[in-house]
């Protein structure tokens, strides 16, 4: 809202120094977002919080400033009210449902001239950020900006029949609005109708046909109170926000409608040469206004703010703001004025007191509050460890939106069990991710485009899917690598790209760190290349997948190098992390025996391993593969492997003979089982 500082002076003697004024408004809760100069006058653009419709007027703001600066002059708004219940004309106002419209004050003035407003009035209108229309419409806007009551004025001759009906629209009715927008109506809209047709959408905008023009002679003035929810529903449906709807939605002052009409009449009188010919005046107020009363113990403001506030101060502030106080020894019964629709309880009253007394008077104290519930979150600790681990081996952490396009999600779900957003910001953001990989791929492509040659990334985040009709959220860790693993250097004179073995080895270090045994199992995932697609398992639990993304996917992101990714569920890893207690290491020495052999090339290493594990003698502690060869000098159906086997006992040093004996027996069995050829 625009605040004309000069115009505020109508009600208060306030220092018009810009900076002082800005700080003053800030201190009572009105945020000044911009200072505008209009015709040499200082105008503030201020933000009014939705709880304070009473601040949507100059008088309302002046009232709060006065309570802050008690000593300055304050002129309460005074207008001689038209109490006259004039019904010289045969005219009626009919309210269909008093819940929609609690009060409707209407007035007919005949034989007036509509002109352009005077220069001063036009300037005032412009200072409010509005456009001057004609002397009558301009007056309704001045009333709005002065006391915050929306006024609508109809050209009476454009209304048919001698009646105004406030009712819900009927399906099939339509209306062309002042802004020339044509809308179809239905039961959700509250409308102001003449005998036949809707002439205005209540509290939002008038119709074009019944608007006041320079030709208008007779007018009908409307000053009403509409239900905030009714107005809000219609305004949202229409997607229209007007100054009037803004106020009605937040709650207008039900007691100000008559005063507003009086104000309109007083101003019209000034624009006319003769006395006003008021032929009809009626105030339909069927729903009685019941003020809110709040019990406020006198020690409560101090207790709730934590500082001592004298009773006299609380009293003064509330009175200045328009509250009525009834003193009952240790408490006040506080009557809330009709324009403070936001005040319903004692905490609201404390806010009023401390707001005006000054937030700067609050103390800084730390509460003594012992948290009996305190639990250390294990998953957070796990994430911290994993993050530190992967950054230390060269991965960069990324954070992405959780939105992907439909196509991207389909890469990772063969079933359409992912979630969509009803109102996305765009097609590319229309689903909730069911994998973190698309984000990593976007980041990879961006970095490749910036000539970064090694892109290793990881992200922690949630993935979303539907299972048995229920929405699931899962904490995921995803890693990706693409490009150069070892860069060219002056010593080794070669570079090395990431391959699956490097990627898998880097990833598996995290399990070494946590002493978790994991394994891979061949499984065809639709997003991986057939020859490089694996399930990640701990025991028999499937925790994720690892592999090389298929060409179709990396092409989609315009990446021209292989991308290796792994995605695992954090909760499943955290289950396997145990607190290890100390164990003494084996102090006896190792003995190593090598064994080189040919093996059928169709036997995969894990199959060999499972036989080794089965046959392994008690004293064999570990084994390792140190050479793998295929090619010249060995038959095409075979590959050559060289392995080392390590023997030791936990109890004593083994003799050479013992070891030889054990090893030879073991090798014999191994050869027999797998048809090996010793080299």
């Amino acid at each position: 809202m625009r605040v004309n500082i000069e115009y505020l002076k109508k009600f208060i003697d306030v220092d018009t120094d810009k900076l002082k004024m800005k700080n003053l408004l800030n201190s009572i809760g009105i945020e000044v977002s911009e200072l505008i100069c209009c015709d040499g006058k200082d105008i503030f653009d201020v933000e009014i919080t939705p709880n304070r419709p009473d601040w949507l007027s100059h008088y309302g703001i002046a009232r709060d400033i006065h309570s802050k600066l008690s000593e300055i002059r304050f002129s309460p708004f005074k207008i001689a009210e038209v109490h006259l219940d004039k019904k010289n004309e045969d005219f009626s106002i009919n309210i269909e449902d008093k819940n929609d419209c609690a009060r409707y004050t209407g007035c007919i003035v005949r034989d007036i001239n509509v002109n352009e407003s005077s220069k001063e009035v036009k300037n005032l209108i412009k200072s409010f950020g509005l456009r001057p229309i004609n002397s009558i419409v301009d007056i309704s806007n001045i009333v709005l900006m002065t006391i915050g009551q929306p006024i609508h004025i109809f050209d009476l001759d454009k209304l048919s029949g001698n009646e105004i009906n406030i009712r819900r629209a009927i399906k099939g009715e339509s209306l062309e609005l002042l802004d020339e927008q044509k809308i179809s109506l239905n039961n959700e809209f509250l409308v102001i109708c003449d005998k036949k047709n809707p002439a205005a959408i209540a509290g939002i905008m008038g119709g074009k046909a019944s608007g006041v023009t320079f030709e208008t002679k007779n007018i009908f003035i409307e000053s009403a109170y509409f239900n905030p929810i009714t107005i809000r529903r219609s305004a949202r449906k229409l997607g229209i926000k007007t100054d009037a709807s803004y106020i009605f939605e937040r709650g207008a002052d039900v007691l100000v409608t008559q005063k507003a009409v009086s104000f309109v009449l007083e101003m019209i009188k000034k624009t006319q040469k003769q006395e006003l010919n008021i032929t009809y005046y009626n105030d339909v107020f069927e729903k009685e206004f019941k003020p809110v009363f709040i019990e406020l113990y006198k020690d409560y403001p101090s207790a709730y703010t934590g500082i001592e506030i004298k009773n006299s101060i609380s009293e003064q502030i509330l009175k200045d703001l328009g509250f009525k106080l009834n003193d009952k020894v240790d408490k006040w019964i506080v009557e809330v004025p009709s324009y403070r629709v936001d005040i319903v309880n004692k905490q609201d009253l404390v806010e009023e007191i401390i707001r005006i007394y000054g937030y700067d008077k609050l103390d800084s104290k730390l509460p003594y509050s012992f948290n009996e519930n305190f639990i250390t979150n294990n998953e957070r600790q796990l994430i911290k460890k994993i993050r530190n681990h992967f950054i230390s081996i060269g991965f960069n952490e990324v954070v992405n939106y959780i939105f992907h396009s439909y196509e991207e999600n389909k890469f990772f779900s063969d079933r359409e069990n992912f979630l969509e957003i009803r109102n996305p910001i765009g097609r590319d953001f229309s689903t909730l991710r069911n994998s973190l990989i698309p984000g990593l791929l976007k980041n990879t492509a961006l970095n490749f485009n910036n000539s970064i040659k090694r892109v290793s990334l990881f992200e922690f985040g949630k993935r979303f899917y539907v299972e048995n009709g229920k929405i699931k959220e899962e904490n995921i860790l995803s890693l990706s690598s693409s490009g150069i693993y070892l860069a060219l250097n002056w010593k080794d004179k070669f570079e090395k790209d990431f391959d699956f073995y490097i990627f898998k080895s880097l990833f598996s270090t995290i399990f070494k760190k946590f002493h978790i045994e994991f394994k891979l199992e061949k499984r065809d995932f639709p997003h991986f290349k057939g020859e490089c697609s694996y399930l990640v398992k701990i025991d028999e639990h499937e925790i994720g997948y690892i592999g090389s993304l298929k060409k179709e996917i990396i092409d989609f992101y315009k990446i021209d190098k292989p991308v290796f990714v792994v995605e695992v569920q954090l909760s499943k890893i955290s289950k396997y992390i145990k607190k290890n207690s100390f164990k003494m290491w084996n102090k006896f020495p190792f003995s190593k025996r090598d064994f080189s052999f040919l093996i059928d090339k169709n036997i995969e290493y894990y199959e060999l391993e499972s036989v080794i594990k089965e046959l392994k003698p008690e004293t064999m502690e570990k084994y390792e593969l140190f050479d793998l060869y295929k090619g010249d000098n060995i038959p095409g159906s075979k590959i050559s492997l060289s392995m080392a086997f390590y023997y030791r006992s936990k109890k004593r040093t083994l003799t050479n003979d013992e070891i030889n004996d054990t090893h030879v027996k073991f090798i014999e069995k191994l050869i027999e089982r797998l048809d090996l050829i010793q080299r």
Binding site: G306, E397, I402, N423
Partner: protein, 343 residues
């Protein structure tokens, strides 16, 4: 005659020492050896040859001097040869460029988030997590934002298709609702996490951003406790020279509510043209207030017995202020040139 020879020899010795000092390779050593001791025309060999031409009288003295030179030179050659042999393998040039091993960086949002969390952990707050897909009830209604509340306009909300009343949370407050429903006071938590608003990305908006919210509910908690708590936080995060200011504000779930400003971390209010505070000297950084009694009631906590405060802050905004980051979208581009500047 002898004096002249002595001078000559001395010159040869000096030249030799100068030259040998620059020899670092076997090849150069051989060249130098040839120059001085080659059988054909080595400098020292020449002297030996010339010795014959000398008279008997001078011969023994000259011979002694030349021999001394020869011995000196040969010893030096041996010494240098030895050192070259070892240098070929062991010489280290520390100034050669390092190999380009990869370095990883944690995301600045994780770092800032962790830093904030750690401060509150030290103050005894527990960290609570919730769901990113939430019910409208937990996100709005329970927080005193009824269906037709104008405050819903300020939370441009994403709705989930095919699921009624299901949205992406617009703040992490639903975590507080869940926690209060499951625990009895005293409650002392912070809830960090992603939140979602339907904003087109621009320099100050992204549809996803991170928040840390806090909640404390106990007996006799008052507004000054809130100020003290936030002051402790601000001073440990930004430094003891940073001041804070409470301003009246409005949130449907707190009463009274306060906007919290901190003194400008860039100019401390001294630059009228300051880019970030625009000369006001203050930066808006937190929203806070005393928990609204209706919110407590919605979670079965008696507001006559208990009171509490809540606060919330945007992690991106704090990072932008602390590091002078000009555009919020940079956090989500994940450009390594950006990521590698922090951590």
């Amino acid at each position: 005659m002898i004096d002249e020879l002595k001078k000559e020899i001395e010159k040869v010795r000096k030249d030799f020492l100068k030259e040998i000092d620059q020899v670092l390779s076997k090849e150069n050593l051989k060249k130098l050896r040839d120059k001085y001791t080659s059988r054909k025309n080595g400098i020292v060999t020449e002297f030996m040859h010339n010795l014959k031409k000398l008279s008997k009288e001078y011969k023994p003295i000259a011979g002694k001097i030349i021999n001394e030179l020869k011995l000196n030179i040969e010893n030096k050659f041996k010494e240098v040869e030895k050192s070259i042999n070892s240098k070929v393998y062991k010489k280290v040039d520390y100034s050669l460029p390092d190999f380009d091993f990869s370095v990883g960086f944690s995301h600045i949002l994780s770092d800032i988030g962790t830093e904030i969390e750690d401060i509150f952990l030290n103050l005894g707050y527990e960290i609570a997590y919730g769901f990113e897909v939430e019910s409208e009830y937990n996100n709005f209604t329970a927080l005193n934002i009824a269906e037709h509340h104008p405050a819903r306009d300020e939370h441009d909300t994403f709705f989930i298709k095919d699921f009624e009343n299901t949205i992406l949370r617009t703040h992490t407050s639903p975590v507080q609702i869940r926690y209060m429903n499951e625990h009895k006071p005293p409650i002392k938590i912070i809830s960090p996490g992603k939140v979602f608003r339907k904003d087109e990305p621009d320099a100050t908006h992204t549809p996803v951003f991170n928040q840390v919210e806090g909640l404390l509910v106990d007996k006799n908690i008052n507004f000054s406790h809130l100020k003290g708590t936030l002051e402790s936080f601000i001073k440990s995060f930004f430094g003891g020279n940073i001041d804070l200011r409470f301003r009246p504000g409005y949130f449907p779930f707190t009463e009274p509510s306060a906007e919290v400003d901190i003194s400008c971390v860039l100019c401390f209010g001294k630059d009228p043209d300051c880019k970030i505070c625009k000369g006001t000297g203050w930066l808006e950084i937190l929203g806070s207030g005393m928990v609204h009694p209706k919110v407590l009631l919605n979670c079965n906590i008696n507001p006559e017995e208990y009171s509490g405060f809540a606060f919330g802050m945007g992690v991106e905004r704090i990072a932008m202020l602390k590091y002078g980051i000009p555009d919020i979208r940079m956090f989500y581009d994940n450009d390594i040139r950006f990521l590698s500047q922090f951590g």
